[in-house]
């Protein structure tokens, strides 16, 4: 039972971690919360589901297209809701992002309707029993894919020219410009990467819960933000750890405390973290 819940938690936690990475990276470079991250997650899921529903598209292509669409949406958001407001009081872009989030959610509601869409293709996954714990290979596959994406991100940031440039912009924007780094381009790249990861998380959860709907991004988005704070905002390993910890805490909380309050666990943790250790488990870069 405990191990079972642990594994369930790691599966949803890996989605939180992917979204949290987007929050943390964007916060790191702009000092802003992209409130519409949850809608980007939703967009990724919808694009993949709609493409697969045509029956003409291969799963992997649909997955990539979902990530691509999410990335594009992130890029558009940056242009429309953030860039015109750069330099204003931090409250202003925050509210504008809230506006974007509401706008996208209601747009999806108008276009796709409020009901759940099942995932168009059925995966034949078996259940593996390990030491009395039934783990579906679906969970395993989601977890592995999420870890793979995270590893790619970490490698990108650590070892590529653009990755290091993004970190440089986050650390010291003016000095980064003095090295010839185009900060605007790095901000755009950060939005693309963070959004693509959120899109991937959206597709994974669309498969896992077998449901895609306009409001699907609301709670995961908020929880992922809590995860980012838990791990220390601006800290990439922290976001991953925070996401996984939160997923597990939520799963265990639902199982052992009260299932009706499952969605509250993340926010109780958030408030506790802010109260006790605002810099997060791993120290955040902060701004």
């Amino acid at each position: 039972m405990f191990l079972q819940q642990l594994f369930n938690g790691l599966t949803t936690g890996s989605a939180y971690a992917l979204i949290a990475l987007g929050y943390t990276m964007i916060y790191g470079i702009l000092g802003l919360i992209n409130f519409a991250q949850g809608e980007i997650y939703m967009c990724g899921a919808f694009v993949a589901v709609l493409l697969l529903a045509t029956g003409k598209v291969n799963f992997f292509i649909a997955f990539a297209a979902g990530m691509g669409a999410a990335a594009l949406l992130g890029l558009i958001l940056e242009r429309v809701a953030f860039r015109p407001l750069r330099g204003a009081h931090p409250l202003v872009p925050l509210i504008s992002a809230i506006g974007a989030s509401i706008f996208l959610q209601s747009l999806a509601l108008l276009v796709f309707g409020p009901s759940d869409r099942p995932f168009p293709i059925q995966f034949t996954f078996s259940t593996v029993t390990l030491g009395g714990v039934a783990i579906s290979t679906l969970q395993g596959a989601i977890f592995a894919a999420a870890l793979g994406l995270m590893a790619l991100l970490v490698l990108f940031v650590r070892f590529t020219r653009y990755g290091k440039a993004i970190v440089a912009c986050a650390l010291d924007r003016d000095t980064a410009r003095l090295m010839g780094i185009n900060v605007d381009r790095m901000v755009a790249l950060t939005f693309i990467i963070g959004s693509a990861l959120s899109g991937a998380a959206g597709i994974m959860m669309a498969i896992y819960y077998n449901a895609t709907y306009p409001r699907m991004g609301l709670l995961p988005g908020l929880k992922a933000f809590s995860a980012a704070i838990l791990g220390g905002v601006g800290n990439i390993p922290g976001a991953i750890l925070g996401g996984l910890v939160l997923g597990v805490a939520e799963s265990l909380g639902a199982a052992y405390i009260a299932s009706g309050y499952k969605d509250a666990v993340a926010f109780v943790i958030l408030i506790l973290v802010l109260l006790l250790r605002p810099q997060g488990i791993l120290k955040g870069r902060g701004h």
Binding site: K164, A165, A168, D172, L178, G180
Partner: protein, 270 residues
């Protein structure tokens, strides 16, 4: 970039800021500021600055706190817009260029307070210095070359730059700028916040660069050290240049001595 050092003795007597003296060894200025104005918000900090730097020269800009020295460098780098006047490099106007473009022309700044990327490794800092360059093979050779000259860069290669000492960070910041392959290297207060012994080390690096013929534009509050190294100097006060001339002349100028060198100040930069 070689051969600058032997010319240097014959130059530096010119007082006129714009027109180069007609000595045969002088080359046309690479960087020229003509009545440049710049500032922040409603504030005009630079009230019409004219200066120039010739290839191979070491020029220093000295002055007290708030004279506008750093603002001058920030304007040259494109971090602040030029409001009036002309900023030229190799005859090309820089007024409207972004910092990114200006770096790729070879105008590189070592910012005030070193500003190394603290959580990135020493090597990553150096690599970021060469960010705008496309000659990958040469970049690798330059990195090796710097590591030969400064073994610390190799010893601490993987260490986060923030864990280095102040002097080491200054050295790293200079090396990072050198990785950008500067044609004109600008330094903003390289001695700031460092112990005298470390300042001597930093100036050792700078005079080594001078000997190699690197063109330097150096901003200092530590006028004594700067004038010792430089060929020519400008003295700034409240956004204007009030005095200019050969470094040796400025050193002997009673006004400069009183205001910036301090009478009876012991020579420590031997």
């Amino acid at each position: 970039m070689e051969g600058g050092s032997e010319e240097r003795g014959s130059r530096g007597t010119g007082v006129s800021p714009v027109i180069p003296p007609p000595t045969p060894s002088s080359r046309p200025p690479m960087l020229t500021l003509k009545s440049v104005q710049a500032g922040y918000g409603p504030l005009t900090v630079l009230k019409g600055i004219s200066l120039h730097v010739r290839p191979g020269e070491v020029v220093t800009l000295i002055g007290g706190n708030g004279a506008g020295k750093s603002t001058t460098l920030r304007t040259i780098c494109g971090l602040l817009p030029v409001r009036r006047g002309v900023l030229e490099f190799d005859g090309q106007e820089l007024n409207r260029l972004s910092p990114e473009r200006i770096v790729s022309l070879g105008l590189v700044l070592v910012p005030e307070g070193r500003r190394v990327f603290s959580s990135l490794s020493v090597t990553a800092n150096l690599e970021l210095g060469s960010y705008h360059r496309t000659d990958k093979a040469q970049v690798r050779r330059d990195l090796e070359d710097l590591r030969e000259r400064f073994p610390l860069l190799r010893e601490r290669a993987a260490q986060p730059a923030g864990t280095l000492s102040g002097g080491e960070q200054q050295m790293l910041a200079i090396c990072r700028a050198l990785m950008a392959k500067p044609r004109l290297l600008m330094l903003d207060e390289p001695s700031m916040g460092l112990a005298p012994r470390i300042v001597r080390q930093v100036y050792g690096i700078l005079s080594d660069l001078k000997a190699r013929g690197t063109t330097l534009l150096l901003i200092e509050q530590n006028a004594r050290a700067a004038l010792k190294l430089a060929d020519r100097g400008y003295v700034m006060e409240t956004g204007r240049i009030i005095l200019d001339g050969a470094a040796a002349e400025l050193r002997d100028d009673p006004e400069v001595q009183r205001a910036y060198l301090g009478k009876g100040y012991r020579e420590v930069w031997e």
